[in-house]
Amino acid sequence: MSKTLVLGLEGTAWNLSAAIVDEHDVIAETTATYKPLTGGIHPREAAQHHANHIKEVVGEALKKGGKDLSAVAFSQGPGLGPCLRTVATAARALALSMQIPLIGVNHCIAHIEVGRWKTPAKDPVTLYVSGANSQVLAYRAGYYRVFGETLDIGIGNAFDKFARSVGLAHPGGPKVEELAKQSERYVPLPYTVKGMDFSFSGLTTAAQEYVKKHPLPEICHSFQETAFAMLVEVTERAVAHTGKSEVLLAGGVGANARLREMLKIMCEDRAIEFYVPDKRFMGDNGAMIAYLGLLMYKAGYRTPVPDSRVNPNYRPDDVEVTWR
């Protein structure tokens, strides 16, 4: 049986990554990461970074396994417009020059599918938490449905915003996590769950205020505990509502040990399984784009160039899923 090989390009925000996968494994993966000198991610600078590095990143990946590719997949959205456009342009050029199909994939769904590929999870409720995205998703009747999501900013952005305001460098999440370990005192912060949705902007503003009167580690601890309790609560409600018996954690914020611990406890108490992919598949990576591209390629999806325009607000529940 001949193997299917797909090249995937990811570049929705800070990370540019190209990977080649087959049905079983990652054959090659090359990455170049944009690091802002000051402040947070500047969309145009990030796009410039991607433009400067895409040739070497794709070239390296192709050198390691670029023979007999079946298709080129790329993140069509959601993401930062300038970054998406840069990477989409490269993907179109590659597909046309190699004369193979182009496949535009949804970035959020790629996070879920790579988790189903690289963990034993089959039909999980997924908590997807990254800089810009915070969603609770589950599959039902041909779509990945969004059961709950942020009403304003993503959890990672909330961390970064708070961290920047107290002088910590980007990305703020890991630094807040470290500082949080130094305190066990809890300062009550706004806990906002509305139905299945959550909100982080009020929490972030309150934390920025309280830090004037309380030691930083105390606020970091309280910030984390409050934000994660909200995420875990909604995840648990989605599990209860759907009756599913697995939880999958996806996205860069999934690296946080306290969040993992809280989800693990929740799953233990409900006697369901909890899965976390290896770190390399948690944050944005080319392998997940290549893998979803492969699934879609085999299911017959093609994205003709005229339909390959990027969509910065591409929602996972807009994609009809026929590969499952």
């Binding site: 810009a132 809890y186 949705d197 309790a229 609560e233 108490d269």
Partner: protein, 191 residues
């Protein structure tokens, strides 16, 4: 005493014709967060269940409230999610219109939290309800319900249209709220 429902947040059991809703401890979150949430939610829930009934929204009658526990009347009905048709969605709209007119936001409007009994709809589980007269809060309330329609019912567009009809009938600010729902749906999830 028999457990009749075990949700994400509470265990609901039946003792004679009394339902006991006990908010359960969550080990994953800090004790401070856990107890504050459970105590506040229990009290608010009991208060708003009674308030809603006074506003013409059928709800269970409250008998007693202690710590993390509410004892109330048992409604022996069937969840709306199992019987929903456009006509019932329209009547749900009327119900929520009355609730919003009264200043109450349910906070967890799902088709599991509306019961159908003897031709009548009852609203239950006010666990996340609060008092709020802003367009935003009402919009989010309805956005949550529409999301349940979309995520669990195939004919969701029909149900949404029927709901709007009923909602507009009992609540004068309906149009503005429905407009806001559209905006909430399209709001910058990637900002």
């Amino acid at each position: 005493m028999a457990v009749i429902a075990s949700g994400a947040e509470a265990v609901v059991s039946l003792e004679g014709d009394t339902v006991i809703k006990a908010r359960i401890q969550k080990r994953y979150r800090l004790k401070e967060i856990d107890e504050t949430l459970r105590r506040e939610r229990t009290r608010t829930e009991a208060r708003l269940i009674s308030e809603a009934r006074r506003c013409g929204v059928p709800t269970p009658i409250i008998r007693e409230v202690v710590d993390f526990e509410i004892r109330m009347e048992y409604i022996n009905g069937i969840a709306l999610k199992n019987v929903i048709i456009p006509e019932l969605s329209e009547r749900t709209g009327e119900l929520i219109g009355r609730l919003h007119t009264c200043g109450i936001v349910h906070g967890d409007l799902t088709t599991s939290n509306i019961l159908f009994k003897d031709g009548k709809l009852f609203l239950i589980d006010f666990g996340l309800a609060y008092l709020d007269k802003t367009v935003e809060a009402r919009g989010v309330d309805i956005h949550v319900l529409f999301q349940t329609f979309e995520s669990t019912h195939e004919n969701h567009e029909e149900l949404i249209e029927a709901f709007k009809k009923g909602y507009g009938r009992t609540f004068s600010g309906a149009n503005e709220v429905i407009e806001r729902v559209k905006e909430i749906e399209s709001r910058g999830r990637y900002a």
